[in-house]
């Protein structure tokens, strides 16, 4: 890659009290590229992206955004810097309307002085359009409560919000986990659209097909350390699958299952 990295992590460590979660992570994220962050459950993927979105601060190490040191004190700092994140769980508010939930923390206003009011109509229109652009065409009324949507529709709402506000970096933590085949395809298309606009995308997934479809660059975490860092085409699908399973030989596992099945006929 010829361009300079947009986001650079160097020597990042993170521990929660006595628990060391991340060890010495070095990573570069380029604009207009999709970085797939892979790894087993508990490998530290979500923790890593929480550092980038201002939820946690690294114990040591530095994050650089567009050549400037970025020490985010809060999620607001990160979003002001153009980083938008869809976290693994939550992100929407069941008892709020679609329009209100979409704009939490970024409310559109109208009126003047101390009497600025929440602009419900604008919020509803933008939110509904953004979700429909993701392919969820069943949503037509921004006044509907989020809790009445399906899990996938709620996920799409959270993603639509991040796409709307993610100016330079878009982080998606398992965005396709709750989605059907069609909706997942829509999300992958959105990821590619963002990439085309020159946005740096960090995409966490446990789905090999999804990862290989959109990824330009792959980083694998195993037990909090970076175990592999490679570009598209440098590894076969089998190798990637092995790495995602925490480095265990998938073939060994398959053989094990096969011998179990043959010794326990149904």
């Amino acid at each position: 890659m010829m361009t300079r990295p947009l986001l650079t992590l160097s020597g990042i460590n993170k521990s929660f009290g006595p628990i060391d979660v991340l060890h010495d992570i070095n990573l570069e994220v380029y604009p207009g590229e999709v970085l797939c962050l892979l790894g087993d459950n508990g490998a530290g993927k979500s923790t890593l992206i929480r550092l980038l979105s201002g939820v946690h601060k690294p114990t040591s190490g530095t994050i650089t955004l567009a050549d400037k040191p970025a020490a985010f004190a809060s999620p607001r700092d990160a979003s002001n810097a153009g980083i938008a994140t869809v976290h693994q769980f939550g992100g929407t508010f069941p008892l709020m309307s679609i329009g209100r939930s979409f704009f939490v923390g970024e409310e559109p206003k109208k009126g003047w002085g101390p009497f600025k009011t929440f602009d419900r109509k604008t919020a509803n229109d933008i939110a509904v359009k953004a979700v429909r652009d993701l392919g969820i065409t069943r949503i037509t009324d921004g006044d509907r409560l989020v809790g009445g949507l399906s899990g996938g529709e709620r996920q799409a709402l959270a993603i639509a919000r991040a796409v709307h506000f993610g100016a330079s970096v878009l982080i998606l933590d398992e965005p396709t986990a709750a989605l059907g085949v069609k909706e997942a395809a829509h999300v992958l298309r959105i990821v590619l659209q963002a990439r085309q606009k020159g946005i740096a995308v960090i995409f966490i997934t446990h789905n090999v097909v999804h990862a290989l479809t959109v990824g330009d660059h792959f980083a694998v975490l195993i037990k909090g350390a970076k175990a592999a860092d490679f570009r598209k085409g440098e590894k076969t699908r089998e190798e990637v699958t092995d790495l995602m399973a925490g480095g265990e030989q998938m073939a060994e596992l398959e053989a094990e299952i096969k011998s179990y099945m043959s010794s326990h006929p149904v």
């Binding site: 979003s79 939930s101 939490v104 409310e107 037509t140 009445g148």
Partner: protein, 341 residues
Amino acid sequence: MSDPSHKLSIGSLLRRPETGSFLGLAAVFVFFTIFGGTNFASVSGAASWLNVAASLGIIAIPIGLLMIAGELDISIGSMVPAGSMTCAIVSGHFGLPIAVGVVAAFALGALVGLVNGLLVVRTAVPSFIVTLGTLFAVAGLTLGLSVLITGTTSVSIKAGPEAKFLLGHFINGIYQVTILWWIAAAIFWGFVLHYSPYGNWILAMGGDKVSARNAGIPTERVTIVLFMCSGMSAAFVGLSQAILYNSAQVSAGQSYIFNAIISVVVGGVLLTGGYGSVVGIVLGTLTFAIVNQGIYYTPFDANWASLIIGVLLLVAVLMNNTFRKMALSYTPSRNPSRKLK
């Protein structure tokens, strides 16, 4: 009141947080008009429950907002007498101008709220426990300091005509001026919760505090400010009562705790946060006050009022749950008369 340009229809009305409380109020009003006769609905009858509703309502709204944000403040039970005593000691016992006493009471309310807020935010101990602690601490401090400074538990205070006019007189001889302050408070908080962007923050915090913080809301600051507002509101009710009755007592306020919570819950606020409206809280407060005072206009013994309030609370919660479910399951696409955009 929640959103200005809602299309009005039976369906949209039923989906609002205050629907249940409106029906409850109507039922209670009809009940007491039938059994309380003309006296209950008369001008002086109305004054008796409006006066009770006003001071309760000024406290219930910020308590309701805290509840919508997922917190609870029961220290107001001590903050009312503490505000009362502070004002009376400063302006009555020490004879300083009444404005100084008022400011001192507000400052104390803000301070107690700040302590509550900081403890809740920093320790992550549930706010019920934190404010249970400050409820007792403030009660003890009020009693101890009052006896230490004045030697008694009851202090008299003489307010000038301006202070009396603003905070402690009866309009037409029967309506407490606090009713007007209650209306002002309801308009102010209604604007904050339903029209200003901050309302969105409060609703989001009660819905999912972690996601709200992740979305960039300064959740800790909002929590602290809300606790300070509830402390100051309780102090306001205390000081205005001292000015109205020309005296302050150490113990007069514990009943506000349950009464405010009942008003808020009857008003359609979800106990676990994230849902509710200021109109609902106002209606809930009126309902509570009508039962509380209306019983005296009926032939029934006043002891039955608690039974009615208890049943009312349970019925209101069940009704509010039903209406909330209706709001959640509402899908316009099932309605063919509405076109897609």
